[in-house]
């Protein structure tokens, strides 16, 4: 049993160690070095980058990012679940619908974000339609605020909930549902007490796959938020580009990663299960 398992795990180990852990170790090293005179890295070794992090402004940014990511994740799950449920029940055309859902997401993320900007602008489609219908007098400020950012994030990461949820829901034993119905349970009760708990691995997977990228997002808050607010992704992005302060950027990312890993660990412990 262990021999096969070892062979199965070997390729992943190779890939992870070479292509992920080693580069990460380099970043760890960077976080303890100093910014070169004009960018880049030089000695001396120092913990200065981490010391700079202890500052209310960065805490505020972190808090905001968590909040926005959390709301987006919740919305993604709320929207993704019915969608995944529908596809898993679709019988012979399952893969077709799956492909259909994924289809818009193969166009560039950037293009879809721009499409949203086009829709939400003052002279954009949504406002123009509302005005024509006489529902509003002057354009609603739909763009360049947190709401727009959340909308963009939810739209961008929806497949990340649909796919794992579909993977678990598809496997759901229909007879359980039939049994519940036979016993007199209403559809809502079946949903709440059977379907949802049984799909919890998928829910967990989906939540993680959305929450984490949302935390590190920078393009969406930048474009849809109008650059007016800083999420932690923007901060990190900025350090590696305009500010050319790689050590600080590395330090911020590593701290972010540590916080998230801690959270995941605590949640897993709380559920009495291992991480995966």
């Amino acid at each position: 049993m262990n021999r096969l398992r070892a062979w199965f795990l070997a390729p992943s180990w190779i890939v992870i160690v070479i292509l992920f852990l080693t580069p990460l170790a380099i970043i760890l090293g960077y976080s303890f070095l100093t910014r070169g005179v004009y960018g880049g890295i030089t000695s001396p070794w120092t913990v200065e980058s981490y010391q700079r992090l202890v500052d209310p402004i960065y805490l505020a940014i972190l808090w905001r990012s968590f909040w926005i990511a959390g709301v987006s994740t919740a919305l993604c799950l709320l929207l993704g679940f019915p969608l995944a449920l529908f596809i898993s029940r679709a019988g012979r055309h399952k893969n077709f619908y799956l492909g259909l859902v994924m289809l818009p997401f193969w166009t560039s993320f950037l293009v879809r974000t721009y499409a949203w900007m086009f829709l939400l602008r003052d002279t954009g489609l949504l406002n123009t339609v509302l005005e024509k219908l006489g529902l509003i007098r002057s354009p609603l400020p739909l763009l360049y605020n947190d709401g727009a950012v959340i909308l963009g994030l939810v739209y961008g990461y929806l497949p990340f909930t649909v796919l794992p949820l579909y993977a678990t829901l598809e496997r759901l034993d229909r007879t359980l549902l039939e049994a519940a119905a036979d016993l007199g349970a209403k559809p809502w009760a079946t949903l709440a007490h059977i379907t949802i708990p049984l799909s919890s691995p998928g829910i967990r997977a989906g939540a993680i796959l959305v929450f984490i990228p949302c935390l590190g997002a920078y393009l969406t808050p930048d474009l849809l938020g109008g650059g007016k607010s800083v999420m932690i992704g923007n901060l990190i992005q900025n350090q590696f580009t305009t500010a050319r302060d790689w050590p600080f950027g590395s330090a911020v990312s590593l701290v972010l990663m540590a916080i998230v890993m801690l959270l995941l660990f605590v949640i897993a412990r709380g559920e009495g299960e291992s991480l995966l």
């Binding site: 960018g39 402004i57 002279t123 360049y144 650059g227 900025n238 580009t241 050319r244």
Partner: protein, 343 residues
């Protein structure tokens, strides 16, 4: 099992990628997007029997990150002037041999001995950009200075550039300081100004502001003159002004990377770019200001006298070149930018 697949597919891909091989010398040029005339590269290829691979980028940092390692594969790049020194400090540049560039005399005098590279040993100026205010002519009175961007009548209808150097620079100019200020008191003053302005702002935008200005979503925008020119090309009711307090100017330059294996050919290309007819075509296509005096002479009159791209001498005198800042100041400015953005 999967290792075999991986290896064979990797081989297949590299084979595919390498199969388009011809014997002409290759030159890899890395430039800003939309910064060259469409026939410049084909003409060069025809004249010199070379094959050019032309890649583009949107920001200096993008370009820097790629070439920093010294083996990116690019031969020529076009950094903005204040990036030349950092690149030199990181040993990324190959020396420019002036004797291989007979067309160097075509440059305008003020670019013949620029601050960042007085003897042009490492770079050759290409085009110039500047930042100012673009506005909708409906505004009455028309904006004339940075302080006009703090006017409450523009609330929610104006944007500033999403660029720390430009926006902090605008605030500094409003306070009467230099855009290259390093004094913390001045920088904190600029920060206060920016935070004061933030409630009036619709957003911090770069090129997107152009579309919003054209469609009427906003009435005024902090904008680079090339972007403003594009806006004016598509809508007659847009105007542009170089603020009265002064403004930042960004020349960019052509450099040869030290890793290049075709330095002679690279020199040929730079010389080619310096030809007045080629430089004029590039400027016309990119809608920019050229540093080439010979080109300026042969530009069509309505372009040559365009006040946005080729303003008169008094306006030019108000401009201030952006310089490389020391790390401590850079860090302070970056911190201030984060504070402004998070406010």
């Amino acid at each position: 099992m999967n290792r075999r697949y991986f290896l064979s597919s990797a081989l297949a891909v590299t084979g595919f990628a390498g199969c388009s091989r011809d014997s002409r010398p290759r030159l890899n040029i890395f430039n800003w997007s939309a910064y060259i005339a469409p026939d410049t590269v084909p003409k060069f290829e025809a004249v010199f029997g070379a094959r050019v691979r032309y890649g583009t980028y949107e920001s200096n940092e993008e370009m820097l990150a790629r070439v920093m390692g010294g083996n990116s594969g690019w031969d020529i790049a076009f950094p903005t002037s204040y990036i030349v020194k950092p690149m030199l400090a990181n040993s990324l540049l190959a020396p420019i041999h002036r004797n291989l560039l007979p067309n160097l005399s075509q440059l305008e005098p003020r670019f013949g001995r620029p601050d960042w590279d007085p003897n042009l040993n490492w770079s050759v100026p290409y085009m110039v950009t500047a930042a100012g205010i673009a506005y909708n002519r409906r505004l009455d009175p028309l904006p004339k200075a940075w302080s006009d961007m703090w006017n409450p009548r523009l609330r929610g209808r104006m944007t500033m550039l999403d660029d720390p150097f430009d926006t902090i620079g605008a605030c500094l100019k409003k306070l009467g300081c230099s855009v290259n200020a390093i004094d913390p008191t001045q920088l904190y003053g600029a920060r206060a100004e920016a935070i004061r302005q933030k409630p009036l702002l619709r957003a911090y935008l770069n090129a997107e502001a152009r579309d919003q200005l054209v469609s009427g979503d906003i009435l005024a925008a902090h904008m680079w003159n090339t972007t403003a020119q594009q806006a004016m090309d598509s809508a007659p009711n847009i105007g542009f002004v170089y603020p009265a307090e002064g403004y930042a100017v960004y020349p960019d330059a052509c450099v040869i990377l030290r890793e290049s294996k075709h330095q002679k050919l690279a020199h040929e290309f730079i010389n080619f770019l310096l030809r007045p007819d080629i430089a004029a075509a590039n400027a016309l296509t990119a809608r920019t200001t050229t540093t080439n005096a010979g080109a300026r002479k042969i530009l069509p009159p309505n372009f040559r006298d365009n006040p946005t791209l080729y303003p008169g001498p008094e306006i030019v005198a108000r401009g201030e070149w952006a310089v490389t800042l020391d790390p401590a100041t850079q860090r302070l400015r970056d911190r201030i930018w984060t504070e402004i953005k998070a406010a």
